[in-house]
């Protein structure tokens, strides 16, 4: 007699269901950690992107905390390298004419006020996050054109507590609110991102 029972299959139908779930979720996942590019390798790429990208100024070198790039199709790519200063990112986006609220949620923290809004547009109706991305990116692609006058876009980023390179942000929740949005004052606790 073995101390472990005979292996068994997943319950009927679950194998296919889980496979479909995993395959459709792959695009939401943060990219695999990558080796940091050497400066010499990075420089040409930065030069090409400079016209379209706005990044938090670098005072002492290193990667910027975040970068925002406008794409030719009007979408915006956000890359977060360090989970600090969401206000600056938010101001950057607002400076580009996009009414967007940005919050970073570290592990073990949640927004004190839930729900933050009462009139969220369904993701299918106003897909603020572009999925799957239409451009090659290691960041998140959003489509600000989904935000109509009087509406507010909300981006919540789940921040890894011990991030590996390229994995600062674990997940994004992006929705458009057709009404007021409460600020996210961080308090201790676990809760899923977003209101829905």
């Amino acid at each position: 007699m073995n101390i472990f029972p005979q292996e068994r299959d997943l319950p009927e139908g679950r194998h296919q269901l889980l496979k479909e779930f995993v395959m459709t979720s792959l695009q939401d996942q943060p990219k695999a950690p990558r080796k940091l590019l050497r400066a010499g390798v990075l420089a040409p790429a930065l030069g090409l992107a400079a016209a379209a990208a706005v990044a938090l100024p670098l005072l002492f070198g290193g990667a910027p905390a975040y970068a925002v790039a406008e794409n030719p199709d009007g979408t915006v790519t956000i890359t977060i390298n360090e989970a600090k200063d969401p206000e600056a990112l938010e101001a950057e986006l607002r400076g580009m004419g996009h009414d967007i609220v940005v919050d970073y949620l570290p592990a073990g923290k949640k927004c004190a006020t839930r729900p933050r809004g009462e009139n969220w547009l369904p993701k299918e109706e106003a897909p603020l996050a572009v999925f799957p991305p239409t451009i090659e990116t290691h960041g998140f692609q959003i489509d600000p054109s989904q935000i109509k006058p009087g509406q507010t876009g909300v981006l919540e980023f789940a921040v890894n507590d011990n991030p590996e390179a390229g994995g600062v942000v674990a997940a994004i929740w992006a929705r458009v609110s057709d009404g007021p949005v409460a600020p996210c004052d961080l308090v201790d606790g676990d809760a899923p991102l977003g209101d829905s």
Binding site: M1, P5, Q6, D9, L10, F21, D28, Q29, P30
Partner: protein
């Protein structure tokens, strides 16, 4: 160079589907052995494949079966379940929930002489140190050999051997004490080691 490994590393989603079909069952059963909960084991299946996709670039191009790699990811996911769930929080919110599944005790009623004996085995395994449990469950439970378990856990083969030896001795001692204390009805076969 292994073709399947290369396809996975290159982000071939069709290959990843094949990988799921081939090894979801192994991951499911390994996760159950680690947790004793079939519903949690389903979560671990999804999270393991999401994590595997995320870290696919770390996969070495040369090597044998991808099963040890996946079971290693599953072990890590299970040991860090809370953190892993948070990393995939947005995805987890959409996870299809499992129907109620009988737990391991119900499952084994017909296979072990009695539930009390099973509980003793689980308890004895639970008293092992986590890294001893990992090696024991990979080798004796999932049937990996020393080299595969070493690959799964990213440790030297000698460490696998010594941890497994310690785990076996502790387990046998714990169970033999139980028998001396009164239960003489069922002998538990020593953990079987497989070697390549």
């Amino acid at each position: 160079m292994d073709v399947m490994r290369t396809r996975i590393r290159d982000g071939d989603q069709r290959a990843f589907e094949e990988l799921f079909d081939q090894y979801a069952r192994s991951v499911y059963n390994h996760a159950w052995r680690l947790t004793g909960d079939w519903s949690v084991a389903e979560d671990v299946v999804s999270l393991t494949f999401l994590e595997a996709w995320r870290s696919r670039e770390r996969l070495t191009p040369d090597g044998g079966s991808l099963r040890p790699w996946l079971l290693g990811v599953a072990t890590h996911v299970t040991r860090n379940l809370r953190r892993t769930r948070r990393r995939h929080e947005d995805v987890m919110a959409r996870m299809p929930r499992a129907d109620a599944v009988p737990d391991f005790a119900d499952e084994l009623v017909g296979q072990l002489a009695d539930q009390e004996r099973l509980a003793e085995v689980r308890e004895a395994i639970g008293r092992l140190r986590a890294h001893e449990q990992d090696v024991l469950l990979l080798c004796a439970g999932a049937g990996l050999d020393y080299a595969e378990a070493a690959e799964a856990l990213g440790i030297p083969i000698g460490t696998v051997r010594s941890r497994l030896s310690r785990a076996r001795k502790k387990l046998e001692l714990a169970l033999s004490r139980r028998q001396i204390d009164g239960d003489r009805g069922t002998a538990v076969r020593p953990v079987k080691e497989s070697t390549r």
